[in-house]
């Protein structure tokens, strides 16, 4: 069974401070990990995926297979980063379904 855990339901940081949103997963095979973001009153959208090893809007995430983690980081948070962030896992199978974590509501304070 695949599972994604985001231990922090709410996270507040001040503008300019570093931010880290934690994500741990459980999966027996080789997972594909993603971060999705939902800004206020907008639809869910892909932020980044571990395969691409990219930085989007200053965010990065490294897959650590030893710790089964995929934490999302940004060195200097901006107010526009305030949103709901979901870590998600896609396992094998033709459906390519996503298993989501419970989400972390990030608030960046001025």
């Amino acid at each position: 069974a695949q599972r994604v855990t985001q231990p922090e339901k709410l996270l507040s940081v001040f503008k300019g401070a570093p931010v880290e949103l934690k994500c741990n997963y459980s999966y027996s095979g080789s997972p594909e990990l993603f971060w999705y973001v939902q800004y206020s009153r907008q639809r869910l959208q892909l932020l980044l995926r571990h395969i691409s090893r990219e930085s989007i809007k200053g965010f990065t995430a490294d897959l650590n297979k030893g710790e089964t983690s995929f934490h999302l980081k940004k060195p200097f948070a901006q107010e526009e980063d305030s949103a709901m962030y979901y870590c998600a896992l896609s396992g094998a199978g033709s459906a390519r379904q996503l298993t989501f974590g419970s989400g972390t509501q990030l608030t960046v304070l001025p």
Binding site: R43, L44, Q45, S94, F100, S102
Partner: protein, 116 residues
């Protein structure tokens, strides 16, 4: 040129009623999904269709019946609505690749269902 659209955006109804939510995508994708986001913002897969065929049916009451008339549409019909059905329902779509590829899922704006 909306990619994934859902109607209605808001749905308020009485317990016991039957209602439908529609989803359409114009991305040429072959796989569509329904997700449920509960009051605690937890997102869970409900159904997945690939080329109009049901391939995922999570533990969902059989009052929920998805229907895919073609690859571009996946509708969700709910019978005998209950208070616990109140949630935001998201449709999503993707182009299912080979076993080693992943294509981004594109989400609709969501339908907020309130059962009174």
């Amino acid at each position: 040129d909306t990619a994934v659209s859902q109607t209605p955006k808001y749905l308020v109804t009485q317990m016991g009623n039957d209602k439908s939510i529609k989803c359409e995508q114009n991305l040429g994708h072959d796989t569509m999904y329904w997700y449920k986001q509960d009051s605690k913002k937890f997102l869970k897969i409900m159904f997945s269709y690939n080329n109009k065929e049901l391939i995922i049916n999570e533990t969902v009451p059989n009052r929920f019946s998805p229907k895919s008339p073609d690859k571009a549409h996946l509708n969700l019909h709910i019978n005998s609505l209950e208070l616990g059905d109140s949630a935001v329902y998201f449709c999503a779509s993707t182009l299912a690749g080979g076993s080693k590829s992943y294509n981004e899922q594109f989400f609709g704006p969501g339908t907020r269902l309130t059962v009174l």
